[in-house]
């Protein structure tokens, strides 16, 4: 493998990782507040189709991204309303969100299926830094959204661990009953976290359709949303680790295409299963140490909270 091939590989690894980073970060914040939203896949699909549709019809990809964020937030609000206000089961509602999102996105995406997006988004290479071999192309020649994704990790990390609001959010995830007794607005905080998760998932989905693949078809994200969920567990709910995990998975996906391109004698279908099998492997590795989960998982994750009880 020569330098340009390595650059290409590294670059596609990062690009493949970005949707996972975005969706994963959003879900991490949601789960930190104690809410388990299994609807990430559905929200990503809605973001993907909305972003694509708006970008294709208006010719402005940025409007597409804004629309995708809005779509993600709307989906998240439906989930939030059902689980936080109406006290519905979080697992069932998350599944419902995914099923609905899959169907609804297929429905409104019909007119746009399998056409290539007529507009493109430019990359913004950073002068000097982008000339570094391999890394330069991978990390410093991204689109603005790409840079934003990395920046978001710093922001979220600061928010969660250095600000009072972030401390309040973490405390709600640890024990909503105690937080309520101390006087925190538990539901408001959770709604905020869920909406952030929706916005991120929507943005990640739009990145997928607008920048990564330049097209739309049914079930475009093919399980990326679920992989993002697994990544949050793999990262032990820590943003830094999540970024690493996403980049690792991006590398797996990049390798899959690379292997196909250089003609490795393995059936393409097997290569296509690599990301999913890798997810299973990663989950097993993490679950093997039960204390790791117990110590890091937000204690109230998935449990409903009622201030009336």
């Amino acid at each position: 493998m020569d330098v340009s091939q390595a650059s290409g590989l590294a670059s596609s690894a990062v690009i493949a990782a970005i949707p996972l980073m975005l969706a994963g970060l959003g879900e991490l914040v949601t789960e930190k507040s104690g809410v388990l939203n299994l609807g990430v896949e559905g929200m990503m699909l809605m973001g993907a189709v909305t972003g694509y549709a708006v970008a294709a019809t208006t010719g402005h990809p940025w409007l597409g991204f804004v629309a995708a964020i809005a779509a993600g937030i709307v989906m998240a609000l439906v989930f939030g309303f059902l689980t936080l206000t109406l006290q519905a089961n979080q697992v069932a509602t998350g599944l419902a969100l995914t099923i609905f999102g899959t169907g609804f996105s297929a429905y409104i995406g019909k007119p746009f299926t399998s056409a290539t997006l007529p507009v493109t988004v430019d990359a913004f290479p950073i002068p000097l830094l982008s000339k570094i071999p391999v890394l330069g192309q991978a990390l410093f020649s991204l689109t603005l959204i790409g840079y934003l994704s990395f920046a978001l990790f710093l922001v979220v990390g600061w928010f969660l661990y250095r600000s009072r609001a972030g401390l309040m959010l973490r405390s709600v995830g640890e024990s909503p009953t105690v937080a309520h007794a101390v006087g925190f607005p538990v539901l408001t905080i959770r709604y905020g976290a869920v909406m952030f998760g929706g916005a991120m998932a929507g943005l990640g989905g739009a990145y997928y359709s607008i920048i990564y693949l330049h097209l739309w078809q049914e079930q475009l994200t093919a399980g990326r949303g679920w992989i993002a969920l697994a990544l949050v567990v793999f990262a032990s709910w820590r943003p830094g680790r999540l970024m690493v995990g996403a980049l690792l998975f991006g590398a797996v996906m990049a390798l899959q295409f690379y292997a196909q391109a250089i003609g490795v004698p393995v059936p393409t279908q097997f290569l296509a299963t690599l990301p999913y099998l890798a997810t299973v492997l990663v989950l097993v590795l993490i679950s093997r140490n039960p204390n790791l989960i117990k110590l890091n998982a937000p204690a109230s994750l998935g449990k409903p909270f009622s201030s009336l009880a």
Partner: protein, 380 residues
């Protein structure tokens, strides 16, 4: 937000609402459907008719309804068992596909053989295939405590790749003009048709076959297991109160394996029913998504066999409706998915009223003084 009503917890779950909520949700979904059709500029009444009434208006339609409801119900019964035990098997779709693959393997291997046991062997293979695919998340959960939700789901993305590989390569029909399809299965490898093989004139010209009887038999068997067997009791306790199950000495491992294997087996059997029935061969993509629909059916049916039967019929109708409006009104088939998701949402929302009720704010029968207006003070 000062809503004039407020929620208060009920002393115990309301039986009336438990039964009424699914009906209420169905009505709300219909209303939602009316809204959707109106918004996209179609004649709502005609669209609703085409979607919901027309498919039922002929014997053929009825046959198709039963043919679709049967596998959904079968999978749903297995999933209900698992969910009650708090084992969240989300991979029924993958287990169904692998069951179909295993059965197809038998059909292809014994192609040309005319014997009654070919079909029986296919059923066995289907069950086995589904069980093997479910055994993976079962093993990982009981041994490593890995989430069965994510593992079983990942496997549903792996299974289709397996099928594509098989029908593009080793199992491709040599006379199939290079299409990724297997051979058409011979008569011994197919379920007997009501009209074709058993000559039941009522069902003349329809595709309905004997697999429906399997589902009918499974319903009382699963119900009995759930309600009357001690094993079923242990699984229910495991789902409702895992700490109580531990206290009682009920093995969590056994529960996980039983739940995954039974639901995998039924899903595999349903998959076999598809390839040995309406499809008649192995295709690269043949699943209408029954594995996921079954999940909705379980919730709408309240994890109860009777509810599951009724909601399977409803789901089958939603599928048929989607197909009907595709031909008559040029609407995408994906509408079925929209309705299904909508139904589940409405149900989850209506479920609130099982455990809570609305009460007018501030109305309490008390003879004492009422609260004076607000005046907080910072005096020390």
């Amino acid at each position: 937000m000062n809503f004039p009503y407020q929620l208060e917890a009920r002393p115990s779950p309301s039986r009336t609402m438990q039964l009424a909520a699914p009906l209420l949700a169905a009505l709300l979904t219909l209303a939602g459907g009316w809204l959707i059709f109106s918004l996209i500029g179609k004649d709502a009444a005609a669209a609703m008719y085409a979607f919901f009434i027309e498919p039922l208006s002929s014997i053929d339609g009825l046959a198709e309804l039963l043919l679709k409801a049967s596998p959904i119900c079968l999978i749903g019964l297995g999933l209900a068992l698992a969910y009650r035990a708090n084992v969240w098997n989300i991979g029924a779709e993958g287990q169904m596909l692998v069951g179909g693959v295993a059965a197809s393997g038998v059909a292809i291997y014994f192609d040309g053989v005319t014997a009654w046991w070919v079909l029986a062997l296919m059923m066995f293979a289907g069950v086995l295939g589904g069980m093997i695919w479910a055994a993976i998340p079962a093993f990982l959960r009981s041994r490593f405590n890995t989430s069965e939700i994510l593992v079983s789901l990942m496997l549903t993305y792996v299974a289709p790749q397996l099928i594509i590989y098989l029908v593009s390569g080793p199992w491709r029909d040599p006379q199939g003009m290079n299409f990724p399809l297997s051979i058409m299965f011979g008569p011994s490898a197919l379920y007997p048709l009501f009209s074709g093989d058993w000559h039941w004139t009522f069902w003349k010209g329809t595709r309905i076959n004997a697999s429906v009887f399997l589902t009918l038999a499974a319903i009382p068997l699963i119900w009995l297991f759930m309600r009357k067997s001690f094993a079923g009791y242990r699984m229910s306790v495991g789902g409702l109160a895992p700490m109580a199950a531990r206290y009682a000495g009920f093995s969590e491992r056994r529960t996980i394996w039983s739940a995954m294997l039974i639901s995998g087996a039924l899903a595999g059997l349903a998959g076999m029913g598809e390839v040995a029935g309406p499809i008649g061969q192995l295709q690269s993509t043949w699943s209408p998504g029954y594995g996921f629909t079954a999940i909705i059916v379980v919730f709408v049916g309240r994890l109860h066999p009777v509810g599951i039967v009724l909601s399977s019929l409803l789901m089958a109708l939603l599928y048929l409706g989607g197909e009907a409006v595709q031909t008559s009104l040029q609407l995408p088939q994906a509408l079925s998915g929209v309705f299904q998701g909508l139904l589940l949402f409405c149900l989850l929302g209506c479920d609130l009223f099982v455990n809570f009720r609305l009460r007018r704010r501030g109305v309490v029968a008390v003879a004492a003084k009422t609260i004076k207006p607000l005046e907080t003070s910072t005096l020390s």
